[in-house]
Symmetry: C2
Subunit: 294 residues, 2 copies
């Protein structure tokens, strides 16, 4: 999916957030942002949003004194999520349809996304969780359920730190199946890496791999051979979050995208309203999902 | 007030909104935005936010086929405001303190600001108006009331189209005084110009002048001599909106800023929470209001 005009301010905001996390002085931060604006102006605006973000954040990590500026934020989100998980697990297990309740919570966890918003308060997360059991899931729920029933080998593409604890609750419901969870190959924004998958103890219930790439999405050409083999061999792929949707929505294989629609660009491309909880089968996406609609 | 790091994404968003209003193709819009990012990277990041915006929008108007890209949006906001005014006037006149009720509505009208947000729905405006009578006004209400009682010659600096109809309701309460309303000297974002002041029929109750500048604020050095004379001679200056606050908060004369706090940067500089309805006397602002706090 090509980036749209609306993505441009979002890239700049993401970069400014990252620069502000450093201990550079105000003057130095502004000077660096002048450079960032110039880099962005030279990038290919027909790429997917995560491809553009990848270039910006790779360069920022090279310049900033840390190669993981969001580590503190990610640890905080992991800690908060860890505290919430036991009671949510109970709630899922006692619900009439634990699988779909777990899907709802996994999508709610997708609110923890510093790529689409520069801050997420505890209050916002609690409010999202409170309304979770009542959320309608839009998209292709039946086709998702059938695929889960048939699957023997599921590849689960994680999205963000914190959120990954909620992914764990969904994986717990996919029992009796081989599950591989793939995380990013290097830190980018607050996307989950191996550290976060281990924090959520995903290794107790699934194999963890990284995709070898530092894009905040899944750019197959940029992922390593092992990941691509797993991607081809899996009989079901579940992809969490907007970044994975933006980079994989044009792929020719069936993929189930689980995410919350957080911006008008994704709303136009997916055909779902902003705020919706969505399980979308890549084979059922609108035709225009591959074109840029600004 | 110097711009902060948070202003940078906002400039880019404002520019993208403006470019999207044109009938350029998606490709042309993206190419233009690449140029815009480069211009912004070359601007002085120690200026006030309206000074930076002024440079960007002046250049955009030169390149785009129209010199008033927001004219349609401004007409729409004027029309909507015009329809709301008669019942709000009644409500103001029947309230125990009509002056302060008019101040509340004038500040509510400040929600119509396409500089701080890329869209404002009718629903948001109606919701803001419904809660208006109950809003606490923070800041220097008593000093404002005293100044109004003493004033013989008030200069009222308008902010946006649409909003200017609400300013009219406040001006109606300042009776028996010479009022001059100043608007921007040329179109910039959705800031009010002579056209909007005339649409609100301000000329029935006040003299209208323009300030000779195309900044979305009041940069005195950029305003014409006549405006500056009026600014010096007025015994009370009322300045609406964030743009006027950002450019005039360091001036050495007493100014009453009437506005809603719409972003964290202004919140830090003014000392009031985001969302607050504020009447701030420039002599009572926190000391750090002149420095950049990012």
């Amino acid at each position: 999916m090509k980036m749209s005009m609306d993505c441009i301010p979002c890239f700049v905001r993401q970069a400014a957030d990252t620069v502000k996390m450093s201990d550079l002085s105000d003057e130095e931060q502004k000077r660096l942002m002048q450079n960032v604006l110039q880099w962005i102006s030279e990038l290919d605006f027909n790429e997917t949003p995560p491809a553009v973000s990848q270039s910006i954040h790779r360069r920022l990590r090279f310049i900033l004194p840390t190669d993981d500026p969001y580590r503190t934020a990610k640890d905080l989100h992991n800690k908060m999520a860890a505290g919430l998980i036991p009671s949510i697990r109970q709630h899922i297990n006692s619900s009439p349809d634990p699988l779909m309740m777990a899907v709802r919570y996994a999508i709610s966890g997708n609110i923890i996304d510093l790529g689409s918003k520069n801050n997420i308060s505890h209050e916002e997360i609690y409010a999202a969780l409170q309304s979770t059991p009542l959320q309608t899931i839009y998209g292709n729920v039946n086709s998702f359920k059938k695929a889960v029933q048939k699957a023997k080998n599921i590849l689960y593409l994680a999205d963000n730190a914190g959120e990954i604890f909620f992914d764990r609750l969904l994986i717990e419901q996919l029992s009796g199946v081989k599950i591989t969870m793939a995380v990013r190959g290097a830190p980018v924004i607050n996307d989950a890496t191996i550290t976060d998958a281990q924090a959520a103890k995903i290794d107790d219930i699934a194999e963890i791999i990284d995709n070898g790439s530092d894009a905040p999405g899944t750019i197959l050409n940029d992922c390593d051979m092992e990941f691509r083999r797993r991607f081809e061999e899996a009989d079901m792929v579940i992809a969490k979050g907007q970044g994975n949707f933006e980079t994989l929505s044009d792929e020719q294989r069936e993929i189930f995208f689980l995410f919350r629609i957080k911006c008008p660009t994704i709303s136009r491309h997916s055909g779902f309203c902003v705020g919706s909880y969505v399980v979308a089968n890549s084979f059922s996406l609108p035709d225009y999902s591959s074109g840029a609609v600004s």
